[in-house]
Symmetry: D2
Subunit: 467 residues, 4 copies
């Protein structure tokens, strides 16, 4: 097995994993009425093999292999990876699908670990590739009081930590939060959240485990729970992530699955290396979302008959500038990639973070423009139950006609409502703010990634300074 | 009957009204499981009599009377009205409650109609006051293709119009959209949407009718339908509006209930007079919402342990500046009120529209700040069903502890999630953009309300121009 | 003498003061070709007595007295003071004139000093009022390395300090910077810059002295030096401030002129009390500048024939909203004034700082809009020497004609160029950023002035928190 | 002669040209005390041959030739051109130097003319290359009332027009404004301003002429006139452009120098083709200016001892993001170049206009940040005359010491004052707004350059629309 099918992927999820959803233990995530759509969404990462083999499939040692698992060794590799991420996200309605984040973690491990950890990482990458596994990544600790470090918290378990070690294993306790895909992945890769210093040794830990390992429990969030119709929720009825609080209750990890074992000096570099790839992933998987914003703006302006108004054109221009700035900087970040540690290439971090910053800073205003163009219908329109009754539908078709038919206008409005006003819209807005790094994190990385020496020397010369 | 109780108000809603919700006819809105919370919310407009009689009750002809129905005759009247609107909205969780909009319409009718229409309006105001009625207002037509006027639409019914007239009545056809409270009001007041000209005569129409008038059907939007728990939805489980598509299928209106009958010259002034009061209502009922944003920002920053970070203080300062600018301009708009037509006072339109502009322009960024401060927990947290299971709750309490207990932190996060990320948050965001006038509408009114003569003369003098 | 005339004011400046300008000692500031326009500008503070006695003159003990010297004792006093400041600034082309800042300092001294210092302050206020003096204020120390406090600097003189004391006097050394009006004032009032603590005793000093006191030297900045024509510089050829580095070279101060003598606890409150009044002054004297921006925008849009373009109307609306928000909050800050220490009233600090914040934050964009509307002519137009030659002027009049004559269009362009592009424009822009407090200072004061308790309690109740 | 030296360039300017400056006719621009610095600045375009031959010199037919005159035939050509423009601008202190705009016009002529006009253009390009001429470009008409087109103006001369034609020549009358370099160029290339239609035939005209052609008079603006010292004006004492009103008083143009002769259909495409190159020039020559802003921000923050403050880091991050976004998009616009008409390549117009938009929109805020970091010293500091007097300088050095010496701090402050506050700063700010296209022009081009089809189809598919 090297390239799995969607069905093979789903079959692999039927194991002894402990998933808690809405207070109850889930027997089978694949068959669960509310979780199945998330599994189907992630399965697109396996469907892409057939749809876009030019991007998604490569050959290693004679075997067709998922391109997601290929560590970048040139700028072109990163460029192709960017296109692959964009295309699988396009299938996924602009939401990240599955393998992106796991491969981000693998590349980071290959770059930032050493010694036995690195050997374990290389072996793990090989196995993932050979078995075409679905990985999730547990990075963000629950953190408790953020003004305090890991070892300063009232409860020492508020960052994941090593509580015991023997010859063959370590034992860990704590929890990771915001773990995407955990309930529908095969394995979890655990990474440290942040730089650590002396005293933080027990918290400097990285490893990988199968999801059904004893002691591991996933508390899946019910956000966006409930039935969704295609009429009212054209996006969120089909595309969805599962996010969990991932609790490690004295979980034993065999040492050949440990990548960092108590060395604080490795925590920061590993966290940052992950960020290098994960923000690159972000700026590529968001591109179809940017297309959605522009396409929806054009369609709703036409439907409402306002496409020629000056303020509408101005808003559309701003949306295009925002979207294409992200796209341009994302592309350039691959073109300007450089070789990182252990021969694994990294996208240019200044451009990656700038692209992310533009995306995140502009998303709120972009959706605001969409709301502005679309009108109050986003929150006062009819639902699928209304639409299903012929005599009601007749009234709706008559009175919701715009410059297009009532049916078309309602579909456009529902699309925008799902994208901007309903809980899925809120989900996207919170993701834009917090996923793959906060505003403050991006700003910090921009400052770190830019060398001011040349600019300072230029001004020193012009101003007649002595340096 | 002059001051009704909440129960009397609810009892009044049990009549033959035709309400369609999720494709089905509603027998009784008061008892309907999904509509009842909206009725309870609006009933706060009657509960306020006991809670704040100093603001809500006045005496007319020896009878205690709702202050909502008192046309302003001084700047102080408008100031008190502003405080009343703010306090009833405070009870209502920052969402408009009920009588505000109906009284806005009455004051507009008293100012902008004439002749028999004015006489009818005065009689109607007296009756509303004596019977302490619940009014809704149907203003926004469905509009069809917005690049075209009422009489240019493909379907002539896309603006409400008079289709027949006899000695005692007119007959109207068409639909109003975004009609708040219609399903839980006693009567509907219909106003024209916009200025009209020659050829638009049939569309220049204003009147009032009981909700159960034959031919009138309310198609209530299912937005925010479904069960809501206090844990996950602390605001929206208790506070909600009903919005309808309000269809007039050849409805007969007796002439003593008609305020404008086919005179296009009266349409624009009446629409604008309504706007005068309705935006004043808006900037006052939004004040508790502004308080929510600030209070939530302080609480979540403390809960996360980040209250002392520089960027957090900067965001809080921006939120305060935004909120208090709206409050200051709102207050000043009452203090600078002037006498309008027929002795009915109007708040200063420049200040009203500026306050509205600041509110609307800042809301998206304000909620963005809240999201930024609160973190990803807004969309990955547990639900009421989880919280109800003791062994799950124990895990949640342990791992969601911040600088406050896990229980407190989750409650704060849920409050902010409801306010900013879930469908209620989207509802508020769309309201901020479109309710009581769009950005473009406010801008137009600001330009119209400001006299540039003095500034132009000053510059002409300084620059040595000849004028 | 209680109300002086402009000529009496000028005569008073002819003394032994040491003013250094462009490397040379100035014999007589009144007659100096480059400084005279600044003296004339400040003399408007005496001319206002005749022009607006309703605002500028009051009666104390039977004597007509400048209203500038009346400590506010009601909200109405502050409202009148605001109007006086606005009107004298209107004469002064939107630039602060003279007495505003001195009286700000006096009111602060009356509120924030105690014991002998307060007695001295009261006596000083009486004398200033009786003699209708021109005061300048030296507050900002040169500060050296801003990451260090007064007593931590490499050179102890980088904050003004007491170097000796005897029974009758103290001796001070150091320098104040950005001292406006010093070269054309009668006396200087020295205030501390900031809050101080233990170890800063020698730096906690406040006093007043005549400008011609031995040891005091004013190094006046040559910014905006050189000849200015009314054609090219309609504003800055007539309105200008002198700013000095004010050096105290072991200056002896008699003890009856000392207000704070080495008590660090008094430094912070005095600095803040000054800020209370000084920012109130700022938001009132800027109002004519706001009028200029609006008037100029209207005139140049008309002159260029673009007044009806959508983006032009949008910019004008933004300018109006900005200007009138500042005006509204400024007015309200007086209306909401409260009694301060020693019975001296203070404007509401939240509103004052919010008005200042809106002004300062919007000024750059406002002038940007003006530049946008005006076009490249701001920097490529002809000068007074061209205009003076008839055959050149004929060509200019032909080719610079717009929707108005070439002469009018050039005058409008020159006005805007002076206001936004030339050194005077830069002066205004730097003032907007730094005068009367930086952005950071305003933000800090907003945060300090707003009590979040009520908002926090409201959210706690809504969210079901335990507090 | 194929590569000229700076001296040869200067010698070429000594002819019979009619230049009017400050009302007087200039005998020799090279020797004129106020104009010479502009000539020296432009001469850098010839000095670059020796300094950066790798960028500036190529070989054509065995002759070393200026690379400026090479029409781009690949994306790499445009990339090299971008680097050349950046480097010559770096020598020129961030201000455009000379040959950029002339070559922009040549490339446009090669793409957008036809028939005899194209033949003339090709011959002209050959001659310019062989003689290494200095060209200026007259494009912007004076335009009069902008609400009216060329043929609708009260005075028909407000757009340049053909007033007569014979077998060998046309005769033109009118004026171009904002003509940079005209007084120090060898020849002027005239282009139409805008798209034209039927009735505008006489206005559809393009040609080239030597500057000393009879009937041509240059009225050079005195903006930034007067003596400038290196101490107070480190940038503007050395770098300056001359801008003229360029009047054609019945000037005869031989037909072999005419590129467009009365064909309105060619006017728009030629104007737009020029814009393609000219905005590409703009985004490349601005890059050293962006470096100045960043370098100055770092230096002044260090000098003031505030480099570690949170708000300072935030501002620096914003400046870097702004500058590097422009740089990134500029680079990508060359990388994504495509072949245009007649085999002349064009940079990607979407990216060019987006880069320009980011630059122009951010410049005001960027300089605002610089002002904020630098402090009031920008407008209250000493001048060269003060600095020249030892005993004054001693005082200044003592009291202006920061975290660096007083001398260094003043030099940094003066650099920033020149760049942001004084007339040169205003010049840059107006350029940022209007040069190479206004905000509105860039927005229009962005909208035109982006094809929304793909985004619309994507949303149509997701939303279930029928298209």
């Amino acid at each position: 097995m090297v390239l799995r099918t969607p069905d093979q992927y789903k079959a692999g999820l039927k194991d002894g994993r402990r998933v808690v959803y809405r207070g109850k233990t889930v027997k089978d995530v694949v068959e669960h009425p509310e979780l199945a759509s998330a599994v189907d969404h992630s399965a697109l990462c396996y469907a892409i093999h057939d749809r876009r083999p030019d991007l998604a499939v490569t050959e290693i040692g004679g075997d067709p292999t998922s391109y997601f698992w290929v560590p970048p060794q040139t700028a072109d590799d990163l460029h192709r990876r960017g296109r692959l991420i964009e295309e699988v996200s396009r299938l996924g309605g602009g939401t990240i699908v599955l393998k992106e984040v796991g491969s981000d973690a693998l590349f980071a491990l290959l770059r930032a670990t050493s010694g036995r950890g690195l050997a374990n990482a290389r072996e793990f990458v090989d196995r993932v590739r050979r078995e075409d596994l679905a990985l999730c990544v547990g990075q963000t600790d629950v953190k408790g009081d953020r003004s305090k470090g890991p070892s300063e918290q009232a409860d020492p378990d508020l960052y994941l930590r090593i509580v015991a070690e023997d010859a063959d294993s370590i034992t860990v306790r704590g929890a990771k939060t915001h773990t995407s895909f955990s309930a529908n992945a095969d394995e979890i890769v655990v990474l440290p959240t942040r730089a650590m210093g002396p005293g933080d040794e027990p918290y400097a830990v990285s490893f990988a485990l199968p999801i059904d390992t004893p002691g591991l429990t996933l508390y899946v969030s019910p956000y966006m729970a409930g039935e969704r119709t295609a009429f009212e929720h054209p996006l969120s009825s089909r595309h969805k992530l599962l996010e969990s609080l991932t609790v490690f209750d004295d979980v034993r990890v065999p040492k050949d699955r440990v990548f960092v074992n108590g060395d604080p000096a490795e925590a920061g570099p590993l966290a940052l290396a992950f960020v290098d790839y994960h923000r690159f992933t972000a700026i590529n998987y968001k591109l179809p979302l940017l297309d959605q914003v522009i396409g929806a703006a054009v369609l709703v302006a036409e439907a409402n008959g306002i496409a020629k108004a000056g303020h509408v054109k101005a808003k559309l221009t701003e949306l295009i500038t925002w979207a294409e700035t992200v796209r341009g900087l994302a592309e350039l970040s691959a073109l300007r990639a450089t070789e990182g540690e252990n021969g694994v290439w990294r996208p240019d971090p200044l451009l990656v973070n700038m692209a992310k910053y533009h995306f995140a800073h502009g998303f709120s205003e972009a959706t605001q423009h969409l709301i502005d163009l679309a009108g109050g219908l986003l929150i006062t329109g009819p639902g699928a139950d209304d639409w299903a009754v012929p005599e009601v539908r007749e009234v709706l078709e008559k009175y919701y006609a715009g410059a297009v038919s009532g049916a078309e206008r309602l579909r456009i409005a529902n699309f925008i409502s799902d994208l901007t006003a309903r809980d899925y819209g809120g989900y996207q807005r919170v993701l834009a703010t917090h996923a793959e790094g906060s505003f403050e994190a991006e700003k910090l990385q921009i400052l770190r990634s830019f060398d001011t020496t040349k600019a300072v020397q230029y001004v020193s010369d012009l101003a007649g300074l002595s340096r």
